[in-house]
C-alpha cells in the first residue's frame, strides 16, 4: 500500500545526512563533553560546531544558545525562567490565546506562584493584533511570549511589530519559534526578540535536541540546577548525538531553505486549492498569505476529525486533527476555538504538515482517498442529515 506521511508538524523524519553525523557519538565518540581527556575533547568540539550551526541558522552568537531537550523545555525555561529572574520589576506576563501548552501551562504555573498573566486574543485567521499586546502590557509587565507561527493553523504572527511595542515599553519578549525555525527565515535581530525557542525535530533533526536562544545580558533563572553545562543555565550531561544531529540539520536547512520553501509552497497551495474543490463544506483554517510553507489545515463540516484520521491511516495516509476525540484530554483545539470556530466545526479539524519529500502525487493520492471517506462518514452523521433536511425544507 502507498504510504504518505503528512504529519511533519508533529515531527519531521531524520535526514540520512543527519543520522550519519550522529552515529559516531552513539558509538566510539561516546565521551562526556565536560571531561578534560581526549574522550571529552571530541564531543566538546562537536558541540561547539553544532552551537555555531544553530546560531548561524537564526543570526545569533553561538554563546547565546542554550541546548535543551525539547521545544517544550525551551518554552518552559523561557517563560518561567525569564519571569522569575525579573520578578523584582513586576509579576505580570502576557501570552496569546493560541500558544502551545508548554507556554500556556507555564503561565498557569507562574500564576500559582503569585504571578498574573493576560491572554491576548486572535482574529479568525489566528493572527495576534500588536495593538492588543500593547493594551495588555501594564506597568508591572515583565514578559511577553507570543509564538512566531502556530503549528495547528500555520499562521505566522507579526513578531517584528510586537517587538517594537515591547522595546518601547521595556518588556522582555520571548517567541516560540519551534514551528518556524528551519522552515522559514528566522533572524533574532530582525525579529527584535529577547528569547527564542526552537526544536531540531521540526527541521529534520532528531527528537530530544532543542535550544533556547537568549540575548546576551538577559538574566534567566535555570530550570535545572546542577553542573555548569550550558554556562550554568541548563545543567545535565548533554545529549551530544542529538545536538550534533540538530546542528547538521540546521546547516542543511539554512542552505536548502529557499528551494525547500518553494517546493513546499507549491504542493501546499495545490492541496489548499484542490481539497475544497473536491469536497463540499470544507473551511480552510489559518491565514491565506502569512502561512507556513508546508502547512494546510481544514475543517470538514458535519463529521469528526479522529474518524477521518483513522480511515486515512487505513489508506496509508498519516495526518492529525485538533478534534476533541483526537486529543488525549478530549478537548477541542484551543486554537480553533480562540479563532471563533464553533465546537461542531472544530471537531472536523484535519491538519496536513507537508514535508520536503512530499510530491504533488502524494496530494493526488489524498484527494483520491479522502472524498469517499468524508462521504461515508457524512452518510452516517446526524448533523449532516439534519443539514440536508433543513436545506430541502428551505
Amino acid at each position: 500500500m502507498k504510504k504518505v506521511y503528512l504529519d511533519n508538524t508533529a515531527t519531521t523524519p531524520v535526514l540520512p545526512e543527519v543520522r550519519y553525523e550522529m552515529l559516531p557519538f552513539l558509538t566510539e565518540s561516546f565521551g562526556n563533553p565536560s571531561c578534560l581527556h581526549e574522550w571529552g575533547d571530541i564531543p566538546r568540539d562537536a558541540m561547539k560546531k553544532a552551537r555555531e550551526q544553530i546560531a548561524g541558522l537564526i543570526g545569533a552568537n553561538p554563546e547565546e544558545i542554550i541546548f535543551t531537550s525539547s521545544g517544550t523545555e525551551s518554552n518552559n525555561m523561557a517563560v518561567k525562567g525569564l519571569a522569575m529572574a525579573q520578578q523584582k520589576k513586576g509579576k505580570h506576563v502576557v501570552v496569546s490565546a493560541i500558544e502551545h501548552f508548554s507556554v500556556l501551562n507555564s503561565a498557569k504555573t507562574l500564576e500559582k506562584m503569585g504571578f498574573e498573566f493576560s491572554m491576548v486574543p486572535v482574529d479568525k485567521y489566528g493572527v495576534v493584533n500588536p495593538e492588543d499586546v500593547r493594551k495588555a502590557i501594564r506597568d508591572d509587565t515583565i514578559l511577553v511570549s507570543i509564538m512566531h507561527a502556530n503549528g495547528e493553523v500555520g499562521t505566522i504572527e507579526p513578531i517584528k511589530e510586537i517587538a517594537q511595542t515591547t522595546k518601547e515599553k521595556g518588556v522582555l519578549f520571548h517567541t516560540d519559534a519551534v514551528a518556524t525555525t528551519g522552515n522559514i527565515p528566522v533572524n533574532v535581530k530582525e525579529l527584535g526578540v529577547d528569547a527564542l525557542s526552537l526544536a531540531g525535530n521540526m527541521f529534520y533533526g532528531p527528537k530530544g535536541a532543542a535550544a533556547l536562544w537568549i540575548k546576551k545580558g538577559t538574566r534567566i533563572l535555570p530550570l535545572l540546577d546542577g553542573g555548569i553545562q550550558e554556562g550554568g543555565r541548563r545543567a545535565g550531561t548533554e545529549n551530544v548525538a542529538g545536538i550534533v544531529g540538530m546542528g547538521k540539520a540546521a546547516e542543511m536547512a539554512r542552505v536548502e531553505m529557499p528551494a525547500r520553501m518553494d517546493k513546499l509552497t507549491k504542493v501546499r497551495d495545490y492541496l489548499i486549492t484542490e481539497l475544497p474543490a473536491k469536497i463540499s463544506h470544507v473551511i480552510v483554517t489559518g491565514h491565506s498569505q502569512n502561512r507556513l510553507p508546508g502547512h494546510a489545515s481544514f475543517c470538514v463540516e458535519f463529521i469528526e476529525g479522529e474518524s477521518m484520521l483513522m480511515l486515512l491511516n487505513a489508506k496509508g495516509v498519516g495526518v492529525t486533527s485538533g478534534s476533541a476525540c483526537t486529543s488525549r484530554a478530549l478537548q477541542a483545539s484551543h486554537v480553533l476555538l480562540a479563532m471563533g470556530l464553533p465546537h461542531e466545526i472544530a471537531q472536523g479539524s484535519l491538519l496536513f504538515g507537508l514535508g520536503i519529500d512530499n510530491t504533488k502525487e502524494d496530494i493526488d493520492y489524498v484527494l483520491e482517498v479522502l472524498p469517499p471517506i468524508v462521504e461515508r462518514l457524512r452518510q452516517m452523521s446526524p448533523l449532516y442529515s439534519k443539514f440536508i433536511k433543513q436545506n430541502k425544507g428551505g
Partner: protein
C-alpha cells in the same frame, strides 16, 4: 500498538445497521458536538421485540464502533433484554475501549435506552387517547 482493538476497527470500518428508520417507533438522541460525539438511535418494535435498530453517529472511531455494536446486540431482543445492555457490556463485546474513550464515546446503550423509553412513552399517550 494501535489504540483500537481489532473488533473496534472492524465495527468502525464496516459499521452495521447504519441509517434512519422512516416512521420509527422510538428515537433516542444523546451527546453533543462539544464533547465530540452525538448519536441518534431509531427503533422499530413488533410484539415487544426490536424488529429493527438503526442509528446515525457523529464522532470518533470508538463512537461509531459502539453504535454499530449496540445495534447488533439489540436487534431481535425484547425491550426488557435490550434495557440490560450497558456501556460496560458493549465495551467488553468490542474487546475493550481506550480508557479515555470509555465514557465520552460509549453512549450507544444510553441512546438505545432513550429510544425505547421514547417508544414506551408514546405507547402510554397512545393508550390514553385510545382509551
Amino acid at each position: 500498538m494501535p489504540i483500537y482493538s481489532e473488533k473496534v476497527m472492524d465495527h468502525f470500518t464496516n459499521p452495521r445497521n447504519v441509517g434512519e428508520i422512516e416512521n420509527a417507533d422510538g428515537i433516542g438522541e444523546v451527546g453533543n458536538p462539544v464533547c465530540g460525539d452525538m448519536m441518534t438511535f431509531y427503533i422499530k418494535v413488533k410484539d415487544n421485540r426490536l424488529e429493527d435498530v438503526k442509528y446515525k453517529t457523529f464522532g470518533c472511531g470508538a463512537a461509531i464502533a459502539v453504535s454499530s455494536m449496540v445495534s447488533e446486540l439489540a436487534k431481535g431482543k425484547t425491550l426488557e433484554e435490550a434495557m440490560t445492555i450497558t456501556p460496560k457490556s458493549v465495551a467488553e463485546e468490542l474487546q475493550g475501549l481506550p480508557q479515555n474513550k470509555f465514557h465520552c464515546s460509549n453512549l450507544g446503550a444510553q441512546a438505545l435506552h432513550k429510544a425505547i423509553e421514547d417508544y414506551q412513552s408514546k405507547q402510554k399517550v397512545g393508550g390514553q387517547v385510545n382509551g
